[in-house]
């Protein structure tokens, strides 16, 4: 549901940047999407197509670079993937885990003509 608002914001931001560059056409939006960001890429892509209609972004491609969730054990410093192992370090079995990647939700770049 909140993909609607996320996409509205995304389209506004991308069109704004394209206009600032005096672009005639927005052709690609490159989005970085963390696995734990809570946004569903298919849903964002669906809204993106609808919301760019009749704008300089009509027909633009949206490309997602997905960032998997990553975490670090604060006890032994090893990298862990808590999603599969229930927030427990495989090596030392500590549950003192810090999420280090996977919350990203930003526009990396746009491509324009």
């Amino acid at each position: 549901m909140h993909e609607l608002e996320i996409t509205r914001s995304l389209v506004h931001l991308a069109l704004d940047e394209a206009k600032k560059a005096n672009a005639r056409k927005l052709t690609v939006v490159n989005v970085v999407l963390g696995e734990m960001s809570g946004a569903v890429d298919d849903s964002v892509a669906f809204y993106f197509e609808l919301m760019t209609k009749d704008t300089i972004g009509e027909g633009a491609k949206i490309i997602f670079r997905k960032v998997p969730m990553q975490a670090k054990c604060r006890n032994c410093e090893s990298t862990v993937s808590p999603k599969d192992i229930f927030w427990e370090c495989e090596k030392c079995h500590s549950m003192d885990i810090e999420m280090t990647a996977g919350k990203e939700l930003y526009i990396e770049s746009i491509e324009v003509d």
Binding site: A18, A21, W87, M99, E111
Partner: protein, 218 residues
């Protein structure tokens, strides 16, 4: 031609959240964003909190629900200042909605504003509202696995209230396991065990709130 952007997609929301934060700072009001699933006991916790803070801090509640003003009626009938936001289907509150609510609250008569976000453990976590602290309420009948299933909010909250501890004997909730998981995910989180029905543990939670207010105002 490629143009680097590197901007948070929710940039417009974040800017509005900053405006809210500035407005509240000018009035020395601490705002607390409260997250939970539907039925975790957010409103009852707010009522208990209001009782515990009586004479110590003046509070108001911004109520976020998809529809109805049931919770706002409950709060105002108990003498708590409350304002309702209906999201009409929306799954979270955003900073713009909060800005409008702030304009309709008697800010000069308040010390703390609690935002009772829409009952949902996913979407509200992504929207900064301009709050100073974030609280997650998890209730024992929901089960101790919620932090595993919805980790984002647990990793970014400042405090976690475990509500309905009076029901623990009936619902098979291993509180030690829950506490260990949540503290592991978020080394800074404070955990409070309360019963919003009989009031157990509410004083410790209210003391923490007052301590945060003191720190905020410094």
């Amino acid at each position: 031609m490629e143009i680097k952007v590197l901007k948070n997609i929710l940039d417009a929301n974040d800017q509005m959240a900053m405006q809210n934060r500035k407005l509240l700072a000018s009035k020395k009001i601490m705002m607390v964003n409260v997250w939970a699933s539907p039925g975790a006991g957010k409103t009852t916790t707010m009522l208990r909190t209001a009782e515990a803070l009586k004479g110590k801090a003046r509070m108001a509640v911004i109520e976020g629900d998809v529809a109805s003003s049931i919770d706002t009626v409950k709060l105002t009938q108990s003498g708590v200042t409350a304002i309702q936001i209906n999201t009409d289907g929306g799954c979270h509150l955003d900073a713009g909605m909060i800005n409008i609510a702030l304009q309709n609250l008697p800010l000069d008569e308040l010390d703390i504003i609690f935002i009772e976000n829409v009952g949902n453990l996913i979407c509200p976590g992504e929207f900064d509202l301009g709050e100073y602290k974030r609280i997650i309420i998890s209730s024992t009948p929901e089960g101790e696995d919620k932090p595993h299933k919805y980790p984002l909010m647990f990793t970014i909250a400042d405090a976690c209230i475990v509500n309905k501890i009076d029901l623990m004997p009936y619902v098979n909730f291993d509180i030690d396991n829950f506490t260990r998981t949540v503290s592991g995910m978020n080394g800074k989180i404070e955990i409070f065990k309360i019963s919003s029905i009989n009031g157990d543990g509410v004083d410790a939670w209210a003391d923490w709130v007052l301590k945060q207010l003191e720190t905020y105002r410094k």
